[in-house]
Each structure stands twice: as C-alpha cells, then as structure tokens.
C-alpha cells in the first residue's frame, strides 16, 4: 500500500509526510469505492506486509517480531514466519506494538445528545422502531479523530435522550476512511433493543415506566396471539369456503355442466371476493337465503367490514395490560350473536376473519422475545435492576444491564440469572449527589467478579450535563480502571477487544487479529496499557485511517 521499504525511510518525518500525501492520493478512489462495504470485491488486491512488530493478536499468544500480510483489506497471514508475496509492499514496524482496533460496547459516538426520532424526546417515551443509526452523524470528524487516536475503531451506539421506556434499537458502527476524511459504517444494525428504566426519575415515575414497558411486551405477545388466531381462523374459513364452493360447483355441475366449466374454479383466497359467489353466472348461485330485511343486511355488512378495530400492540385502554381474551376475536364459524341459527343462516354468516392491524412496534419486541435480538436495560438503582431481571424472566429476554451503578448490590441475582452487566462511567462519581449514581463504586467490577457476574466496560451514553463530549475514546483507560481491583486474569485489553466483540456478536468482524479477519490494526509506539504509548497509525480494512504526524504526537491525520 505505502511504498515505504526501509525503516529509515518509514521513520523519516518529511518523507513520511510526502508518502502519506501520495498514499492519500492513491487511496482516495479506493476509499471512496469501499464506502459501501468494507470487503467489496475487486479492490486493491496487492499485498502489504507489516514486519518486525510485537503483535498482540488477542487470538493467541503475543507474537514478538511478527509479520502481518494484508491483502484486499483482510489479514491473510499472521505470525513469526509468513510467506511474503511477490511485489508486496513492506512496512517495517520495529519497536511498535500492533493490536486489533478497540471496541466500545456502550457509547454515544456521533450521536450528539438529541434523540434520533421525533417522539422519543426527553420526557416522552421512545419508540421501539427508532434506530440509533438514523441518528448517527457519520461525519462527526473531530470526535472520530479523538476516538481513533486512542485506538478505538468500533463503537456500539444506542438511541439517546429518551426519558424512560423502550427507546429503540442500537447499532454497532465501524469508523472507516470515507469520501470525507472519515465515515462510519454499520457493522451490525439492530444490535440490541434498548430499554431505559429511568433510574434518575422519581420512584413513582420509575414504577410507571416499568409498568409501561411490561405492558408493551405483553401487548406484543397479544399481538402474536391475535395473529396466530387470525391464521387459524383464516385457514378454517378458507377450508369452509372451499367446501361450500365445491358443494356449489357440484350442485351447479348437476344443473348444467357447461356453465360450471365456463365459471372456472372458485378462488376463495381473494380477500374482497364474496366467498359464496363462486361463479359469475347468476343461475347456479347458491340461494341468497330467505328474503332479508335491509337492516339485517346492514348488520351483516357492518360485522364484516369493521370488526372492532384491534391494535393489540397498544392495549392502552385495557386495565392491567391483561391480554384481550381470544373470544374477543370475531368468530369465523359460529353465528353472530342474536342471529337465529337455522342452517341457511349459518351458511350466510360465513365471514372472512379480519387481519389484525400491522404493529411494527410489537414486531420489534417479538424479535427480542424470540431471542433474535439481545436487550439492553439501562438502569442504575438496585430495585430497577431487579425489575429488569424480572422483565427478562417473564418474556425470556436475553438481558444485559447497562449502567449498573448498584449492580454489585444485587450481584447474586445477576449471577443466578447469568445476566451480564455493562459498566459505564467507571469513574465520575460525585459524592455530593444524591441521585441514581450516588452508590456508584470503583470497586463494582471486583464485587461482580467475585460473585461470578460477567461484566463489560463501556464509556456510556453522552450526558447533557457534560460540558463537552468526546465519547468512546477512553474505553481502554476505563477498562484499566475497572481492572484495577477486578482480580487477577482481568486483562483490560481483552475486555475492549475479544470480550467486547463476542458480547456484541461481531467476533467474525472485529476484536482479534487472525487470518481471514478484516485488517483493522492499531499500531502503538509501545504497550497500549502504558499511557506514554501513542497510537502511531490506524488501519481499517487495510486502509490508513489515521497517522500521527511526526514530532507532533497529538496532531495530524490521514
């Protein structure tokens, strides 16, 4: 990629600048082409070999003096001895340490503080269909730059700003070289359903929030039940229609075979079609029943046209969120109440069941109920955490507690239900506050470890109180702080690479360096855990995303 063939050349500040500029020109079309997809085929297939680096792969032991062969944005080979392809560009990384890009499992990179959707504003409940990525500012260049120069390339983002309730779905984004200097790419949309139990609100409001959330989930189950009932009823109905049509066809066949053939087969599955009219010819039509009054006709029509509107996803007016009884459905077979039940009437009352109104909010919740989407429940107070566990149990959700300032107080419950905790704001407790954070402890990670609770570290959502926000950049330092007392074997780097990738379900795309993985490399001047080390350069998908300017360790970009 970069024609730097010797150490001296690579390290020379002026030359590096020229080369970087040349590389920038050379890479620009490629970078633009790959904006849509990292591994889009047909891109630069020439090999680059990074040599003599200390490689912390996070997929095995540390490789001293190792090499990485990158082709087409992917790691092709990694190890002490690699086969250097012909015409490969050689980059000497003597003295440098290479790690995978760091991952923030709970951040607000590019999210600002505004909610991504209109109705999800502060003080109102969010909407499960809101998607964090819709609120992602993919050109928040300054923020990305500061994240990248601290080694962060991937961040989880969630809908921001909802006061409490179900706020929408999260995404995982990767920072990419783009048309502009930077861009964000979705690595995983709908990474989690985000619920905020509003731990900062007064108790009564928190109870209401929790009740509302639970009703929404129950509503989703009701919706599913209504759908299932509808499907069954529809089958039943179609069966009956077919039976009747067959009967009618038989009858009409008896009367006159010519006409039956002309009429063709009945199509009972067409929604608008009157089921009892299988043939266009008037004569074979089944008897339209004994003469009926206009009023009767109107009642029947009304029953067909507007079965009481059902929106099971929002059982708002129903007290207690109790599921509406299946009996509430317009029954397909039995005669409508109040109608006399002679045989002819029965045939008359065969009505097509009404499909429940489509409920996209419940669709989202059902994905969580089915275990297809994890659920992040943001709460700090111990009572809210216990409520969250209860919610998870009731609807068999894959719950992770987010925030979790008081998680250590209910560690045994968390361990029992195998619920992970995402700690954010490891530091930042204010002893003179008396809010939901007032029991936040720097020892939380230690106590959770002791209790056998799996925990992760993220930088947390942006806070409207913070004067300026530079999210995600200090995820490694946060992990180091958390690891301080957390116990032996807690590796801060592992927390923000492999552990984080596994937790976010992106193990095949980020978090470790191995053959076949995308070439997301962070080149450090030393041990990444040492604050004196600098990020020298960052590659994403094999493309240079950031390079520290020589002699100005904190400045410069691609």
């Amino acid at each position: 990629m970069r024609p730097c063939r010797t150490d001296a050349l690579f390290r020379s500040g002026r030359l590096a600048a020229i080369l970087a500029a040349a590389a920038g020109l050379a890479c620009a079309p490629g970078a633009r082409a790959q904006l849509g997809g990292l591994l889009g085929g047909g891109r630069n297939q020439s090999a680059t070999v990074y040599q003599h680096a200390r490689i912390v792969t996070m997929a095995g032991p540390v490789i001293e003096d190792g090499s990485i062969v990158v082709v087409g944005g992917q790691v092709r080979q990694i190890g002490k001895d690699v086969k250097v392809p012909e015409d490969a560009t050689i980059v000497d990384l003597s003295g440098m340490t290479v790690t995978p890009g760091l991952i923030d499992v709970d951040g607000s990179l590019g999210m600002g503080t505004q909610p991504p959707t209109g109705p999800g504003g502060r003080g109102e409940q969010g909407d499960p269909t809101a998607r964090a990525f819709d609120g992602f500012d993919r050109y928040a260049t300054d923020l990305f730059k500061d994240a990248v120069r601290n080694g962060v390339t991937v961040a989880y983002i969630s809908p921001q700003g909802g006061a409490g309730g179900i706020n929408g779905t999260a995404a995982v984004v990767r920072l990419m070289p783009g048309d502009g200097p930077w861009a964000g790419e979705v690595l995983r949309d709908r990474a989690a359903l985000c619920i905020d139990l509003g731990s900062g609100e007064p108790p009564i409001q928190r109870l209401q929030t929790f009740d509302k959330v639970r009703k929404q989930f129950r509503g989703a189950l009701d919706y599913r039940e209504a759908l299932d009932t509808y499907k069954e009823d529809l089958e039943e109905y179609e069966k009956k229609v077919k039976e009747r049509a067959d009967k009618a066809a038989k009858e009409s066949g008896d009367k006159g075979k010519k006409e039956g053939a002309a009429g063709g087969a009945p199509k009972p599955d067409k929604a608008e079609e009157k089921p009892a009219v299988p043939s266009p010819s008037p004569s074979p039509t089944p008897p339209p029943a004994p003469p009926k009054s206009a009023a009767d006709e109107a009642v029947a029509d009304a029953g067909l046209a507007q079965p009481e509107p059902r929106t099971p996803g929002q059982p708002g007016p129903q007290p207690g969120g109790r599921p509406p009884s299946p009996a509430g459905l317009p029954p397909a077979g039995p005669p409508a109440a109040g109608q006399p039940g002679d045989a002819a009437k029965k045939e008359e009352d065969l009505k097509k069941p009404t499909e429940p109104t489509a409920d996209r909010k419940s669709d989202v919740l059902l994905r969580a109920i089915d275990g297809d989407m994890p659920v992040r429940i943001r709460c700090h107070r111990s009572e809210d955490i216990l409520n969250a566990l209860e919610l998870g149990k009731e609807f068999s959700l894959k719950v992770a507690i987010e925030g979790g300032s008081e998680a250590y107080l209910v560690a045994s419950s968390l361990a029992e239900s195998e619920t992970p905790v995402v700690l954010d704001g490891v530091i930042g407790r204010d002893y003179f506050r008396n809010d939901e954070l007032h029991r936040r402890s720097i020892d939380a990670a230690a106590l959770l470890t002791r209790a056998g609770v799996k925990w992760h570290v993220g930088t947390g959502p942006s806070s409207p109180q913070a004067a300026d926000r530079w999210p995600s950049r200090f995820v490694l330092l946060s992990a180091q702080l958390a690891a301080q007392h957390a116990g032996v074997g807690v590796d801060a780097l592992r927390l923000v690479t492999t552990d984080a990738a596994e937790f976010l379900g992106i193990s095949d795309k980020a978090g470790r360096l191995a053959a076949g993985m995308p070439a997301d490399l962070v080149v450090w001047t030393g041990d990444p855990l040492d604050p004196g080390s600098r990020v020298d350069q960052v590659l994403v998908g094999g493309e240079l995303l950031y390079r520290a300017a020589k002699n100005e360790p904190r400045e410069g970009m691609k």
């Binding site: 500061d146 601290n150 250590y408 107080l409 530091i427 930042g428 407790r429 204010d430 002893y431 003179f432 029991r439 402890s441 720097i442 020892d443 939380a444 230690a446 106590l447 470890t449 002791r450 930088t459 806070s463 913070a466 004067a467 300026d468 926000r469 530079w470 200090f474 330092l477 946060s478 180091q480 702080l481 690891a483 301080q484 007392h485 957390a486 116990g487 032996v488 074997g489 801060a492 855990l529 040492d530 604050p531 004196g532 360790p553 904190r554």
Partner: protein, 395 residues
C-alpha cells in the same frame, strides 16, 4: 478506616487490616521491583529501608540481607512510590470555607475549616494519596492560606504538615459578586494591586507583606486566559512569581507560564476527566515541553479520589513526559505545597509516607497494595479476586 463507611466501602474495609506498627528503632525494609525516583523515573532501587518513621536508605532489591531487627516486606513486581499529593483540594472542608463578606481576606486559614472525620480523607488514602493541600474556596481575590494535611488521621485532629501557606489568590468569575467588590475583572485587579501596594507601603496585611518580602509563597487560581495575564502582569509589577493554577488555555499560555525566573514557579493543571476536550488535555504536555514545572489537582472530594492518577495518565496520553507526570504527582506537588522537605520523594531523611503500587502509578490498572505513613502501614488493600492472602499466587 477510622470512620464509618457504608456499602461497598464497608465491604472492602472489612478485609482491610490496619497494622499499628511498633514505633521503635526496629527497621523495616519494603522490597519492590522498582521505585519512583525523585526525578520521576522508575529506578531499580526498589527497596526502601525505614527507621524511626523516616526513609533511611534506598537499595536494589537483592542488596537487602536478612538481619536481626530488620523486618522485610516483599512485593514482587511492585513499584514503591512516595505518597501522592493532591493540590487545591476541598477535602474535609467542602462548603465550610466560603467566606463571602470580604474580597480581600488574607487572615483566613483553611485549616480552621477542616473536618478530620470527613470520609473523603479515607477514600483518598485508599487511592494512594497520603497528603492534600487544602485551599480556601477561591471566591475571594485573597482567599487566605492553604494547609497541607495527611489523609491518615489517627487522633481527634488532622495531621497537618503545614498550616501557614501558601497564600491563595484567585481571579475569575468566582470572585465577582453583586453585593461587594469586585464585580468585574478590572475590579479584581484593582483590589489585588491595592492590597499588594498597601503591603509594600507598610499598611497592608501581614501575610501579604510576607509574600512581598519573599517569606511566604503564593499561589494564584486563574480561571481564564485573561486572569492568567492579569496575574502575571500584576505580580510581575511587584517582582513576584507565584504558582499559577490554570487548566483551560494552558496550551496557548505555555510559553508565558514556563519562563518566569529562577524561582521556577509551577503551574497546576486539572482535574482532567474522561470528558475533557483534547485541547485541554494537551495543556500539561505543552507546559512541560515549554519548560514549566507541572503539578496536578485531582478534584477531590468532588470527584473520585482516583481522579488524581487519571489526570496524570491523561496528561501523559496527550503528550506529557511520563517522568514529569510522576514528579507532578509527588515531589512537584510537595514543592507547591511547601512540604518538600518532609514528603514527596524517596530520599534518606524524608518522612516515610509511601505507597506500594502493583505497577507504574501512571498505568490505571495498577492498584494500591499498601500505604505507609511515618513508616507505619496504615492501609492494606484486600487481595484482588483470585489471589490468596499471601499475595503470591496469580493463578
């Protein structure tokens, strides 16, 4: 811990053993792998011999031989460090020191407001901070004198290392008021000049006169760039070079703050937090490269006690030299507080206020293992999860 603590603290404290060491002529050798040297580097003189509450000598780990009367404490791979010192703290006196009647009040002493029962002192100790310089609230142009106290309190009052200085000045919006002077920046400088001139003419307050005579050190807390300019100009007129506390625009002001004469006054920055802007975080490095001595304020007790080390680590990540940052946490801070003759560096004759870290104190995963004050172990951290009581097994 002396004071009742709740929740988690109680849980942790339960495992803490406090050793009331014998205070005799017995000597103790604390043997670690490395030590934070007075120049801020990590030296391999990792063994410290303590006698009579003082540092007796430093040695390499393998130079210490077992002998009668020598108690040996070993910490494999650990780093021995002078107790950290937090500057401009309101610990123990938070909200008790707001004197708003007079804008020029040099007779105020911060020590008079310090509550020895403040649990924040214990939290600071656990984080490796053995001393804090407590300043009066910077709400007056002349706020009074600071006090430097140990965070370990063994009796009914705090263990003060110094109670009579430095004299604290403040400039910025926090000193403005609507019901007394000053109401503006120029007004603040009028008061400051007036106080300094009166003292020069023999009519002013004794403490201001001492500052003018070079017998009392001074520190000026400056909020904005113009406050720094005003302070440098005004004190410069009286041939004074006080320490300056300023964080926001240190990058731009670095050259002005670095070259201020042979007394080498320090610049104090902080607290740096995870939400500080990159430009703010670059301040410490810019000052250090310009040649200034830099020390830190960690924001206790408003912030977490760990905030002091976080401040230094962020300064280093954003360009400051690591050794300079370690100096800023220890000997540099001691110099600002005026207690460098007793604490802040591991040298023979210094008070043995010592912290054993599991690694470089700048690395945030390094934890406090033990804290010694006057050569007595006053805090032992509970072993981390998975490690046995002997501190040995790491499996």
């Amino acid at each position: 811990m002396r004071h009742p603590v709740r929740g988690i603290l109680a849980l942790i404290a339960g495992a803490v053993s406090l050793t009331a060491g014998a205070w005799g002529q017995d000597r103790t050798a604390i043997i670690c792998a490395r030590a934070v040297a007075p120049d801020g580097t990590l030296s391999d003189l990792g063994a410290v011999v303590i006698a009579g509450g003082k540092v007796e000598r430093l040695a390499k780990a393998d130079e210490i031989k077992e002998q009668a009367g020598l108690k040996i404490v070993r910490h494999e791979g650990a780093v021995i460090c002078p107790g950290l010192i937090d500057l401009c703290s309101a610990i123990g006196e938070f909200q008790n020191n707001l004197e708003r009647a007079k804008a020029v009040d040099p007779s105020v002493s911060a020590i008079d407001a310090v509550d020895p029962g403040d649990p924040a002192l214990g939290r600071a100790l656990r984080a490796g901070i053995t001393a804090v310089m407590i300043t009066p609230q910077p709400s007056n142009v002349i706020s009074g004198v600071a006090a430097t106290v140990r965070t370990w309190t063994a009796g009914p009052r705090v263990d003060a290392l110094r109670t009579d200085g430095p004299l604290v000045f403040a400039l910025g919006t926090s000193v403005f008021s609507t019901d007394r002077e000053p109401t503006s920046r120029p007004g603040a400088l009028v008061l400051l000049r007036g106080a300094l001139a009166a003292a020069r003419d023999g009519k002013g307050a004794a403490r201001v006169a001492q500052v003018l005579a070079g017998k009392l050190d001074a520190i000026v807390i400056c909020e904005a760039t113009e406050d720094v300019d005003g302070a440098l100009r005004t004190f410069g007129e009286f041939k004074l070079a006080p320490h300056i506390v300023h964080t926001a625009d240190a990058v731009e002001l670095a050259p002005d703050l670095a070259e201020r004469g042979p007394s080498r006054p320090a610049t104090i920055v902080g607290p740096y937090t995870f939400t500080s802007s990159p430009r703010t975080l670059e301040g410490a490095g810019a000052l250090e490269r310009a040649g200034a001595d830099v020390a830190f304020t960690g924001g206790t007790p408003l912030g977490e006690a760990a905030g002091l080390r976080v401040t230094a680590a962020l300064a280093v990540r954003y360009g400051m030299d690591a050794a300079a940052a370690r100096r800023g946490l220890t000997v540099g801070a001691a110099r600002v507080a005026g207690v460098e003759g007793r604490v802040g560096s591991l040298k023979p004759g210094m008070d043995a206020d010592i912290v054993v870290f599991s690694g470089d104190p700048l690395r945030l995963e390094s934890r406090v293992i033990e804290v010694y004050v006057n050569g007595v172990r006053v805090y032992t951290a509970p072993p981390p999860v998975g490690q046995d009581e002997s501190g040995g097994s790491y499996e």
